[in-house]
């Protein structure tokens, strides 16, 4: 299985590690509500279908990026680099 790193191009899946659901918004650091933090840390929806996920090209260029993966077929339809503030770079 190949994953297209936004920097390096198509590489073997073994070069990457999974970083979890990228669609979960993090509470503000000033937010002291324990329930919102517990939801953020522990609750995931586990959808059937397309999921935005963080992946790390750990054995390559070591960037984090977002991949859109179908949780049924494992087909990755798009990958997208992040810049420092977490927004899409390209």
């Amino acid at each position: 299985m190949l994953i297209t790193c936004p920097h390096c191009g198509a590489r073997d899946r073994a070069e990457f590690t999974y970083g979890g659901d990228a669609s979960v918004p993090r509470p503000e650091l000033s937010d002291l509500d324990q329930e919102r933090w517990a939801d953020y840390v522990y609750l995931r929806t586990n959808p059937r279908g397309t999921l935005r996920e963080f992946w790390h090209h750990v054995a390559g260029c070591r960037i984090w990026f977002i991949a859109e993966r179908d949780t049924v077929s494992h087909k990755i339809s798009a990958t997208q680099a992040l810049d420092d503030d977490g927004s899409a770079e390209r």
Binding site: H7, C8, R11, D12, A59, C61, R62, I63
Partner: protein
Amino acid sequence: MAEMRYPIAEAMETGHAPAAGGGDITLAEIRLGTIVQLATFAGRRDDLFAALAGIRPGLEPAPACRGHDLGDAALLTVGPARWLVVADDPDLAAALAQAVAAETAAVTDLSHARAIVRISGPGAARLMQDAVAVDLDPVINGPGAVIQTPVHHFNALVHRRRDDVFDVYAMRSFAGPLYHWATDAAAPVGYTIGAAAGLKVGD
């Protein structure tokens, strides 16, 4: 500046050549004076390369997964806004730290932190293709390619300097596995241990 020690110096016995095969491969330890990582802060890329032009013209930005090779020095693009400068000159690391302002880029001296084996000769491309899951067809990853990928279960950086010259960088704690992998992989075709050398390939 502490004296440089090279991690596989004792293991590589120059001139050693197992009998098998035609000896299509030469293995040699590459000993560099300078390995420095440069990582720019947002919007500072032009400042970095202006500073580099002042101390070593030709150290220019290279595309992703490529390098600029000046013979005795090279600039390798290893990530977005992240480069390695490798050179024979041991004074270049200090010169880079001097020339690059603290607000321009993080300058990290890795000169002691890598072990490097050069694999060269007519059998080198075939040996490397068996080792990495990346296409080494010259059209895709020919001379100038900089490939970070696992080699025999350790993470490595492979710099293809010529069609049949590959410099394989590993973290120095993997110097032993790097050396043993290289000699095992080359054994079926036969190899010769070359003298430890610097970056320059020679013509």
